[in-house]
Amino acid sequence: MRSRLNRRTFLRASGIAMGLPLLGSMGPTRLLAKDNADESGDVRRMLAICAPLGIHTPNLFPEKSGRDFELSPYLKPMQPVRDKITVVSGIMHPNVDGGHAAEKSFLTGAAHPGQPSFQNTISVDQLAAEQIGYKTRFGSLTLAVDNNSLSYTRSGVQIPAENRPSKLFARLFLEGTPQEKAEQMRRIEDGQSIMDLVQDQTKKVTRQVGREDNQTLDQYFTSVRELEQRLVQAEAWAKHPKPEVDRKQPEDITDRGNLTERLRLMYEMIYLAIQTDSTRLITLIGPGGNEVVALDGVEDGWHNLSHHGRDPGKIEMLSIIELEEMRLLAELLQKLDSAQEGNHSLLDQTAILFGSNLGNASSHNNTNLPILSAGGHFRHGQHLAFEDGKAPPLCNLLVNYLQHLGVETDEFSSATGTLTGLQTV
C-alpha cells in the first residue's frame, strides 16, 4: 500500500514526460504545445482516409504521368489545389490481400488480413501517437462515417472509432456541467488507483501461472501500465479548458442515404479538430454500405454498384457517388488551404492520405490501389505512375508521412524507405 501511494505521488509530481519511456529523449515537455515557441509556426499533422468500397480507378488515374498530368474526371474538383496533390497509381501493400479484409491493413501493412489466424500490427497513426500524441488533448482521433476503424494498437487491437459527429464535438469542445466534470475527475482518479491495483494483481497471477514469458500476461501488464499513464495525462488535460469554436453542437444525420451531408459534417469536425490543435493524428474510414445514396441518377445500393461486374449502367451510377466523395474531399482540402497557421496553410501542415484497400472493387483485388496524397511538406502537383510490379510498397509513403510528423525513422511495416518520386520541401 505504501509503495503504491509513493509511486502515485511520484508519477503526478514528475508530470507526464517521466511516465512515458518513449519520450525520454525529448526532454521536458509542457502540456500545451502551443506555448512552445519553437513549434508555434510548424505544427505537423496527418489525416488518413480510406474509402472501403474502392474508387473506380479508370476515372481517377490520369493518362499522363509526371507533372504534366491532365485532370481525370475524379480529379476535376481538385483543380484549385492541383499543386498540392499527388496521384499515385500502380502501388499496393505487398502480401496484403483478402478483398474487403485488406481494409484492416490499410494503415498497418500487415500481411494476409483475410487469413483465419490473421494478426494485425500497429497502424501508422498509433505509431506516431506514441511519440507526438502527448502534445494534444487527444493523442489521436479514430473516426468512422459508418462503422469499423483503421487504427490498431501495437498488439493489433482495433481501436473503436467514433462515428457520431455530435459525440465527437462534445468530446472536443463541450465542458459538461460542474457535476459531470466532478464525476469525470473522480473517474479519472479512481481509474488510476484501479490500474495500479490491477498491475499488482497481474504480477501475482503471472508468478502463479509460472510462465514469466507469457505473451498474454505480458501484454496485460503493459496495457494496464500504459492506461495508468494515460489517465495521469487525462487528469492534467481535464484541468485545462477546452477550446471554443464558433459553432453549436451538431445533430447527427441519421439518413444513411444522405452521403453529402454525412460526409461533409464529419469533414467539418475534422477541420475543427485540426484548427484547434485538439489532435494531430486523425484516421477516418469513409462511408460505404448498401444504402441507396440520395444523388440524382443513383438507383441501386452502393455496395452492389461497386460489384459492377463491368456493367456500364452500374459503373455510371457508381461514378456519380464517387465523384461526390471526391468533391467533398476537395472542399476539405480547399478549406484547409485557406486557413493560415503562422507561415503556412493548414493544408501544408497536414499530410493527407486518401485511398482505398481495393484496387478493383468488382474483382475484390488489392493491387493497383487508388491513392491520393495531399498536403504536408511535399512537392506535389504530379501523377506518380508506377509500372506493374515495379512500385515500392505503399508503406513507403507512410514513412514519408512519419518523417513529415517529425518521427525519425526510415522504417514502417513493409516499407523499404521513402516513396521514390515524392520529395520533401
Partner: protein, 800 residues
Amino acid sequence: MKTALLLSSCLVGCFTLAFFHSSAIAADHVEVRGMFRTHCIECHGADTQEAGIRLDNLAFPSPQLDNAHVWSRVVNAIERGEMPPDYQDQPSAEEKKQLIGQIVQTVSSSVQRPISLRRMNRQEYENTIHDLLGIDEPLVDLLPEDGSVQGFDKGADGLSFSSVLMEEYLKAANVAFDAAIRRIKPLPPETRRAELMQIKENIDSVDKKKGGVIEVDGSLVKFTPGWPPARIDSAHPIEDGIYRCRVAIWPHEPNNRTISVALYVGALFGPDTQDFVGVFDAAGTPEKPRIVEFTRRMKAGDTIHIVPRVWPEHVSWRDKHEQRPGVGIAWVETYGPIDQDFPSESTVRLFGDAESIFMKEEWPVWMRHRKNVKNHIVESTQPKEDLERVLRDFIPRAFRRPVSEAEMQPFIDLAVNRLESGRTFEQAVRTGITAILCAPQFLLINREPAVDDYAIASRMSYFLWSTMPDQELLDLAAAGKLRDPAVRSAQVERMIADPKIENFVNDFTGQWLDLRDIEFNTPDKKLYPEYDPLLLEAMLGETRHFFEHVLREDKSVMNFVDSDWTYLNQRLADHYGLPPVEGHESFQRVQLPDDSIRGGVLTQASVLKVTANGTTTSPVIRGVWVLDNLLGRPSPPPPPGVPAVEPDIRGATTIREQLDKHRSIAACASCHKRIDPPGFALEEFDAIGGHRDFYRSIGEGEKIPGNKSFRKGPDVDSASEMPDGRDFAGFIEFRQRLLEDEPVVARAIAEKLLVYATGRRIGLAQREAVDQIVATTDANDHGLKSMIHAVVESELFLTP
C-alpha cells in the same frame, strides 16, 4: 552419429547449422529419411524444390523453429493421396501409415502444448457480466472487435490486450455498475395503448398519402418497410423497465400472398441498433386481428417498429390488376414496467438484502409526467462494514472460485481507502467492483497453473454457454465431483438441454459457417429480384435449427455434408422449390423428397450466400470455404503478383473459363487443383442459394419470357474431379465424394470443436488428441453431441 549430423548440416549450409543442437533433421530419422529418399527427393530435394518444399534437409520443429505447418502440408499431401503423384512409384498403404505416424510422433514430441490461457472475448464478457450482475445492458459494442485464431475468437493470440482495451473495460464496468442500480422509483405498472388511427402523425400520413399508407376500418395499413413508420407514440413507455407488449395485426388484401411483420424494439429515430423480436404472420380481420405478444426491456420513449413483410413482393407497375397487399395495424399496447422492485433485483443482488442498505434521495430529476422525482443513490448506515461485505460476496462469484482472504484484501483496501478519502458509499463500491472487473482473475480464462474442479467448471461453461459457470457447476466443483468423468458427462447433457446452449449454437455456427457475415451484402436487385429480408431471416433460421437438431439428437456430423431432412419455413420451402410449408414465423423439420438436391449445409442458402458477394459467385471463395470448414485444410494465400479473376455479369465469359486459364500457371495449379473442384460443384447454386442451370446476366444472353430483370447467360458447368482423381459430374456426385471422406470430415469438425473449446491452436502436433475424438465417436457415426463429450474428455481440455 554426431559426425554424420554435423556433416549433413554443413552440406545444407549454416541455416541448419544454427539449429543443430536442438532440432532433429528429418533426413536423420532413419525411416522417414528412407521413405523421402525413395519417393520424394527427386522433386523435393537439393536440386529441385517443387511447390517450394524441400525434404532432404527439413528439420523437425523446435522451440527455435516453428515449422509444424510445413510438416502438416507434407502429411496432408501423403495422406490424401496427392503425393507422390500417380506417375511415380507409390508407397504401400502400410508404409504410408507408418511414415505419417512417425512424423506425427516426432513433431508432437518436439513442440510444447499450445497455451490455453486467454482473456474473455467480448461476447463472453457481456454474458458473464449479465449473469454476474443480473442485468441485460448491451456491452459488446463498447469493446473493440476481437481477433480470431484458426477461425474462432477463442484463441490467446487473437485475444490480445492493449491500453485501449483496458480503457474500454474500465468504461464498460462503469456502464454495467450503473445498469445494476435503479435510480428512481418506478411508476406503478399501467397499460399504454395506441389506436393507430387516433395518432396525429398517422392521420397526417394517410391524408398526405405518405408511402401510400391508407386507413381501413380504423387500422393503419402499411405496404412497405420504408417511410413513414407506423407511429404508436401513446404506447411508448415513459420510463425504463420491462414491458409486456401486444401488437394487433391483420392482412389487408393478401391475394394469395402471405402478410407478415418483422418486429423490432428501440428508439424511434437514430442509428442505434434495434432489438429484433421476430417475424410474425398477420391473421384475422380488422375487427378480430391477430394479437402478437412478447416481453422486452424498453427504455423511456422506445417504440415498437412494425415492418411489413409482404411475400411474394407486390410490384405496383406489374400487378396493376389487383389491390395492393399490406399489413393492417389496429392497435398496440404496452404494460409495465412489470419489474417493480425498488431497490431493483440487481441492486439487491449486488448490495445484499441488509437492513443497513437503503436508497437515499439525491438530486431532483425533471420528468414531464411526474412531479418531485428524485434520483437515488445506494447508501449504508454502516458503510465500511457493508463495503467489505459486498466485495467479499462479489469477488468469489466474479473469479468463479473460492478466493483467499489475502487475495481479497487489496480490493477491499482500495475501496475502503476511497471511502476514507471522502467518497460516498456507492462510489467506493463502484471503485471496488470496477477494479474486480478489470482484474486478471476475472478477465482471464484458463489461468490456473493446475486444472482443478473449478477450472473444469469454467472451461465447460465457456465452451457450451459462452459465460460463467452456474451454481450447479460451481457446487459440483466445490464438492470435488467434476473430476469424475461420469459427472462431467451428465453435466454436458444438462448443459446441452439448457436454453443457454443457444449461445453455443449461434456463436459456433456464426464462426464455423461464417453466418456472422450474412448481412455483409444485399443481393443485386436486378439479378436476384426474388431476394427479400424475409428470405434472409429464413436462411439463418434454417441453419441454426439444423445445427441445433444435429446437436440435440446426437446425429452424425456427416449430416453437415448430406442429410435427407432440413428445417424450413414457407419462404424457404418456396425458394428451394419444395412442397409448401405454412407460415414464416416458425420452422418445421421437413423430410426432403428423393429428387431434391438439398441436404447438408452446402445446399443451405445461408452458406451459399455468405460464400458469394451478392452479385456473383466465385469457385475460389467457395472452394477455399469447403476445404477449410469441411475438410480441415485452410488454403495458403495466393502467391504475390497473381491477377485476381474479375467477375463479369454482362454474360460474356464464365468464371470457369477464366479460372481454367488461371490454372495453367504452375504456381497456381498446386493449390487450385484442390480449391477449384468443390467450387465448381457449387456453381450449381447462385448467390442467394437458388439452384441454377445457367448464369443470370444483365447484358448479353437470351431473353427469358416474362422476365424483364435479367437474361439467360452461359450454362453452368459443375463437373470436375477431386485432387486424388475421383471425378464427378455435378454437385450431387461431388457430395457423394465428400461422404466417402467421412474420416476427413469428422477430423475437420473435431479440430474446429477443439479450437473452440480449448482456445489452443490445433495443428499436426495435436493430431493424436483429434484422432482420439474421431475414434471415440466411430461407434455412433460421429454424432455431434458424442464429439462434444469426447472433447470435454480430451487431454487438451483437461490439462493446463
